[in-house]
């Protein structure tokens, strides 16, 4: 039987283990180390770790996005101009597998060394995906596995997909208006299944 891999996250003050769907534990540790430097936990608030960004990326890579469901993947594959956009043949899963090999010792390095290592790859397509996925894991609806406890939304004052601001849109000028953040599931008061689990 295949060994099951887990990711442990510090959520609401307690450690919780989530079964991984795509990454091995080693890979998950590298992703956690890298995304924690992209969006660190520091004086300006919680970061990628508390939001569960690694769990989000794991779910995306396990699902249709990871196998390139949302891209035109017919060949021939040729190098294009920057204006023509990404033309590579590799799927997000393959890009991560290869990219993570280059960062295998990242979890053992000091934060300064980690930053230096990431700077050295920041022009790569892999890093651009890693950065983009960190943003998605911080700020997407929590049904997708990231933004745990609405960490990302609380940090920037985004209240979530409320149904109406009709009574507030022309008020609060120049004043912070910060309704309590709520997920789509909380607002609709029912459990939602994300697309990555619905689409074959």
């Amino acid at each position: 039987m295949k060994r099951r891999h887990f990711l442990t996250l510090p959520l609401a003050g307690a450690l919780r283990a989530f079964p991984l769907k795509f990454f091995t534990e080693d890979q998950a540790q590298i992703v956690s180390a890298a995304t924690a430097r992209i969006f660190p936990t520091d004086d300006s608030g919680p970061g990628a770790t508390e939001a569960g960004v690694t769990l989000y990326i794991d779910r995306q890579l396990a699902g249709p996005y990871g196998r390139d469901r949302y891209r035109y993947t017919k060949g021939p594959f040729e190098a294009g101009t920057p204006e023509q956009g990404y033309q590579g043949e590799a799927t997000p899963r393959q890009i991560y597998r290869e990219g993570l090999k280059l960062l295998s010792d990242l979890p053992t390095l000091s934060p300064e060394q980690q930053d230096q290592r990431l700077r050295s790859i920041e022009k790569t397509y892999f890093f651009s995906l890693l950065r983009q996925h960190t943003m998605e894991g911080l700020f997407s609806d929590p049904m997708h596995g990231g933004n745990q406890d609405l960490t990302g939304w609380k940090l920037i004052g985004f209240p979530g997909p409320y149904m109406s601001w009709a009574n507030d849109i022309d008020k609060h000028f120049g004043q912070e208006f910060r309704p309590k953040p709520q997920s789509l599931s909380q607002i609709l008061n029912r459990k939602l299944t994300p697309w990555e689990e619905l689409e074959p």
Partner: protein, 553 residues
């Protein structure tokens, strides 16, 4: 091939133009009408669970399935055209309602001289001022002729707006509903523009400011400013969409059949008459005979189907244009702006530098752009991360702190500029890449030229003048325009390819959308627009569809 019983009219595409044509023909003729839509049916209830930025705005839940079909793109004929593997600079719609489901609802009229741009430019400035290789041409009718149809389209949708803008097109009647509520960003922008002596007006909006009953008896509620508009369907139906504005009427019409999942592959002709279409549905191929064929499947597919069907003339594919959207500034305010609230049309706009609203004698370009202050409701994945220019990285502690501090203090002044056509910008069939059924993809050859770059710089200057009068900590002005790219989103306002005109020598369809060579074939949509005005095209698409319908009735 399965042969189906003949129908009087077959309409290819179930978006705004195709469904409006179906409604008009059903109401005014005894024709049997079949609408073929290749996407899925839509259920307005989907739009409540659809308030998910990741799936809808980033994974393009409502858009054409790029895995099945895309277009190839190159800047110039010297380069190899490669597929746009993920949509970026524009987002083709899919499913019933098409892009009319996930639009923002901005509905300005085109400026009067847009319809006679060649004539107006030459008369005022002389032929020598037409840019090199440009192929500007007149539509074949004047603003005066389309004005009553604009009014009709506005009443269909219930457009919310404020009349009296001296920089906008003249109106023969009031807006059906008053303008949307003012946002804080909109107010700050307007105050600055008015200080400069410019005219700031709310963008006419298909998101209703109040409950509205249209002439067909369809009632829609007021906008809730939830901030999930562009790339989403409206969960309350305040935003006019084909599914909430046209389908309620069409459902009652026994003469109209709407088939989904029906992908048209060819329009068949015999002796210069269209005889019907072939389509694929669930893996089976059908022939639908028809006495009249209406092509209403958006700019790219309209052009592609004519080319695949080998219909027409050497003009098919020419005058491909987009919009010049790049001029702008990220502005960082001294106070929070609660930018999560808004609607797709919450947008104060300045048209003083649009079209020929200003004298071009002293500048070295033609035409212009409108300047805007979109308050669409900022969603966090797409909008987090903008920082003042003093921060150099886009990751790490310093950037994170600045991005959090800036998040709700930042907005973007934008613009929408005209794109004139050139001989060098066109569409044809790609020789290499194919779609899911093996048909060649469309190939776009498209680049900016100096006229667009000059508009961009000029408008950037005007935007900077506004920014300097706003209560800001700092601003970051857009970089100069270089080459057209397929990556960054501009608008979904691609135009041309099956352009109209007063002569078969220079156009594909006549000013009513009737094909010059195949007279029982009509083409609807912005593919018929000879050049790209700054204004968002949907209202004009609807007005022009009404004109075509009158020709068919």
């Amino acid at each position: 091939m399965i042969n189906l019983p003949a129908t009087d009219v077959v309409i290819i595409g179930g978006g705004w133009s195709g469904l409006l044509m179906a409604k008009e023909l059903a109401a005014n003729t005894s024709f049997n009408i079949t609408v073929l839509e290749r996407g899925k049916p839509r259920n307005p209830k989907d739009y409540i669970e659809g308030m998910d930025e990741l799936d809808y705005a980033l994974r393009y839940r409502m858009m054409q399935d790029v895995a099945k079909e895309t277009v190839t793109f190159r800047n110039t004929v010297k380069e190899k055209s490669l597929p746009i593997r993920q949509f970026g600079s524009f987002l083709p719609g899919d499913g019933v309602g098409g892009a009319g489901e996930h639009w923002n609802g901005m509905t300005p009229r085109f400026l009067p001289d847009v319809f006679e741009m060649h004539k107006a430019t030459v008369e005022r400035y002389g032929k020598a001022r037409l840019p090199e290789n440009s192929t500007i041409q007149d539509w074949g009718f004047s603003y005066k002729e389309i004005e009553p149809f604009y009014l009709k389209a506005e009443r269909l949708l219930g457009i919310s707006g404020l009349a009296g803008n001296p920089m906008a097109s003249p109106r023969s009647g009031p807006y059906p509903t008053p303008p949307l509520k003012q946002t804080y960003f909109g107010k700050l922008f307007s105050d600055a523009a008015e200080e400069l002596g410019w005219h700031s007006y709310p963008a006419p909006s298909a998101n209703l400011s109040q409950t509205y009953r249209n002439p067909d008896g369809v009632i829609r509620p007021a906008c809730q400013y939830c901030g999930f508009c562009e790339r989403f369907g409206c969960m309350v139906g305040a935003k006019a969409q084909p599914t909430n504005t046209l389908l309620p009427v069409l459902r009652k019409q026994k003469s109209v059949t709407l088939k989904t999942g029906a992908q048209v592959r060819r329009i068949l002709t015999k002796d210069n008459q269209a005889i019907g279409v072939t389509y694929v549905s669930n893996g089976k191929e059908y022939f639908q005979p028809a006495a009249k064929v209406i092509l209403a499947s958006w700019t790219l597919n309209n052009t592609r189907l004519l080319l695949l069907s080998k219909i027409g003339n050497s003009n098919t594919g020419r005058n491909l244009t987009h919009q010049v959207m790049g001029a702008g500034a990220n502005v960082f305010f001294t106070k929070p702006i609660n930018r999560f609230m808004g609607s797709g049309s919450s947008n104060m706009t300045v048209s003083d530098w649009d079209g020929d609203n200003f004298d071009h004698s002293g500048v070295d370009f033609v035409r212009g752009a409108y300047i805007s202050s979109p308050a669409y409701g900022a969603r966090p994945i797409a909008n987090f991360g903008n920082v003042p220019s003093t921060v150099k990285s886009n990751w790490g502690s310093e950037w994170k702190k600045a991005a959090i501090e800036s998040y709700d203090y930042m907005a973007r002044i934008g613009s929408s500029g005209e794109h004139i056509p050139y001989k060098t910008n066109f569409m044809d069939l790609d020789p290499v890449y194919t779609d899911n059924v093996g048909d060649p993809l469309l190939r776009m050859t498209l680049d900016w030229n100096d006229n667009e770059r000059k508009i961009h710089n000029f408008i950037n200057g005007k935007i900077e003048a506004i920014a300097k009068r706003m209560p800001l900590k700092s601003y970051v002005l857009a970089a100069p325009l270089r080459r057209y790219d397929a990556v960054s989103y501009k608008s979904t306002h691609l135009q041309g390819g099956t352009i109209m005109g007063s002569s078969a020598e220079t156009s594909v369809v006549n000013p009513y959308g009737q094909h010059w060579q195949v007279p029982n074939l009509y083409v609807l949509g912005a593919s018929t627009f000879p050049q790209n005005p700054s204004g968002n095209p949907t209202l004009t698409v609807l007005a022009q569809t009404y004109r075509s319908a009158e020709a068919l009735i």
